[in-house]
Subunit: 378 residues, 2 copies
């Protein structure tokens, strides 16, 4: 993207009367401190298609590719990387991302540390566009983390060995294919099984024919009737399932609250949980929430969501879409404080462009690189 | 305090098999990144008595001094400053702080960035002791902010000019004294008037005889009867009051919820609001909360409280005790995101030992110094 020079010059002229702070030396840390400079943030982006290793089927659809937008945010020679992942059922696309990102005038911001102000501006430009917004948020976090020369899990005060295991997702399929995929996932210590597609018992039995590790299930709104759902929950508990995600339609709070009240397993909101403001109505209805950067506009709001959910004694799951290691590494920065994680999105694709967080013996391992902890390998 | 060498050597021996990470150069920020070192955190402290400019009277008591504990936390030659303020009615004292801080073995921690782990340890050593805990939390934040070479309001992504006005507190007194104190506070654009001591109308009328600026009132649990309270609220609204703090006993949730429901003014929890876990039961009962570092164990939990309250659409007030500029400057780092602030504690004393946040034309002005933004002037 070319910098919009007219807008940039306009903003500069506006500020000409004010003091332009520049870097200066500061005793305690014995290193120069970054302050606002005369130069604005420069955002660039490109569309990209993730190639899925397996055709991916959930209760509502199946597909072989995922559209993403890859961003770069540059300031004072330092570049932050970001990504927005746009599975088609969420309504975003290369076209909507292009339209959204083109509307942003980030060169008006000369100080990347003013993250609340910058990201409030990004959020208020248009409604929706949560993945496109996340692509800016992640790039800004990567940039600021690099300026602070620390990864975000350290800036937030977390300990890197507190990362949880990550689930690996087994999509809905026929029994033999499920058995094959489960065998392929033998490096993982917990699996997420997609159900709600009419063959719930076949799915679980197929996985259980291969492994006895803990499982969680994601119904993706696939269940319709609450007593039948509760019967399934009891059966699932006997099968070693540890939590259940999004059993009913996201608008059906009444049946969900009833199920949560009667269920021996935690019931988590996924489709029902988008932005931080949703927590107020979801408390008491669900036991916890699945927080994804692409739903909530990025790391800043995800951090607020997780802190708020924990304050309300709700369970937390850090999830993802199919993403490169850029998106999953950004999400992984928050993983030391969650109950569970589902950060396998980069493992589901064959054309990753970054190296960052790893899963080693089933557990998330954060890199020591600053920012979101990635390097480009594209 | 002498480092407990046996404990320190024990911890070192325990870690001898592991990799001891040291500082290394890192490309993006072009500065060395702080990592864990072989040396533990070193905590020292001293008792100190704040001299109050005026004898301070609220609904429950009056006094001329406030006991505080001043801490220093050192790591790799960098020193963070902290403070715990212990007004007598909260049950802490020089003796309890001494006992609490002596029990901490912070030299077991060789990486100050692991703030959650360190502060969880501090919190779990003993119950209570919230101000003593805050004295460690603030020193740790000052230290880590200095290592990152940025003040916390920038690390948290806030814009420094978004700080609110600060109230200045007028204690309960006779009419002429209230008039004199109000005149002395003419630099402020909003005042907090202490009421609930049996002369509410005299207090407000005395202040209003001098100034027409916005006021808020703090009842300090002084009201007893809900209909009478509501009548007072309506009268206070006519007098230009903007919010009401802690009208009833902190345990009286029923009358408070009723008053909040019927009140045209926001009703804020102060004594009822201590730790982040209190928010769950206070939502719907109060319109908002007064968050103080000395009640909630420090900046880390205060940040969680403010983010959670905002997520729940509750109003937020950042408050303080009588404190040096150490405590108020730490609290001020969070002030860009609150609705109101009451950070006049350092102005109420005559023997401050630090220079940091200022109040200029009634508005909080943050310093650009890293950490909590103070320098020692003692």
């Amino acid at each position: 993207m070319e910098t919009n020079r007219r807008s940039f010059l306009g903003a500069s002229a506006l500020m000409a009367g004010g003091a332009l702070l520049t870097s200066f030396d500061c005793e305690p840390g014995k290193m120069p401190a970054y302050r606002a400079s005369g130069k604005g943030l420069k955002l660039t982006w490109k569309p990209y298609d993730l190639q899925l290793r397996h055709t991916f089927t959930i209760a509502s659809n199946s597909r072989k590719t995922t559209a993403v937008v890859l961003t770069q945010l540059e300031w004072e020679g330092v570049i932050g990387y970001g990504e927005g992942s746009m599975p088609p059922y969420l309504g975003e696309s290369h076209e909507t991302a292009q339209k959204f990102l083109s509307a942003l005038k980030l060169d008006q911001f000369r100080d990347p540390f003013r993250m609340e102000e910058i990201l409030d501006y990004v959020d208020q430009i248009m409604p929706g566009n949560c993945a496109a917004k996340a692509s800016v948020d992640i790039a800004l976090h990567d940039l600021v983390g690099k300026l602070l020369n620390q990864p975000w899990h350290r800036i937030w005060g977390y300990s890197k060995e507190n990362t949880p295991l990550s689930t690996f997702t087994i999509g809905i399929d026929k029994g033999p294919e499920v058995v094959a995929k489960t065998k392929e996932a033998s490096a993982f210590k917990i699996l997420k099984v997609k159900i709600g597609g009419g063959n719930d018992e076949e799915m679980i039995n197929s996985v259980r024919s291969v492994t006895q590790i803990p499982l969680c299930v994601d119904v993706n709104q696939g269940w319709k009737e609450r007593q039948e759902a509760l019967d399934k929950v009891h059966w699932l508990k006997e099968q070693g399932i540890v939590f259940i995600e999004q059993p009913f339609d996201k608008h059906n709070l009444e049946d969900t609250a009833w199920l949560t009240q009667h269920s021996p397993l935690p019931i988590l909101a996924d489709e029902a949980m988008q932005r931080v403001g949703d927590l107020k109505k979801l408390q008491g209805v669900y036991s916890g929430i699945n927080c994804k950067l692409m739903k909530c506009t990025g790391m800043r709001e995800a951090h607020k969501i997780l802190e708020t959910a924990r304050s309300l004694n709700m369970k937390t799951l850090m999830g993802c879409m199919t993403e490169t290691s850029c998106g999953t590494s950004a999400a992984a920065q928050l993983s030391p404080i969650v109950d569970w994680a589902d950060l396998d999105g980069n493992l589901l694709i064959s054309n990753d462009l970054y190296e960052g967080m790893k899963i080693v013996e089933g557990k998330i391992v954060l890199s020591d690189l600053p920012g979101i902890g990635i390097r480009s390998i594209g």
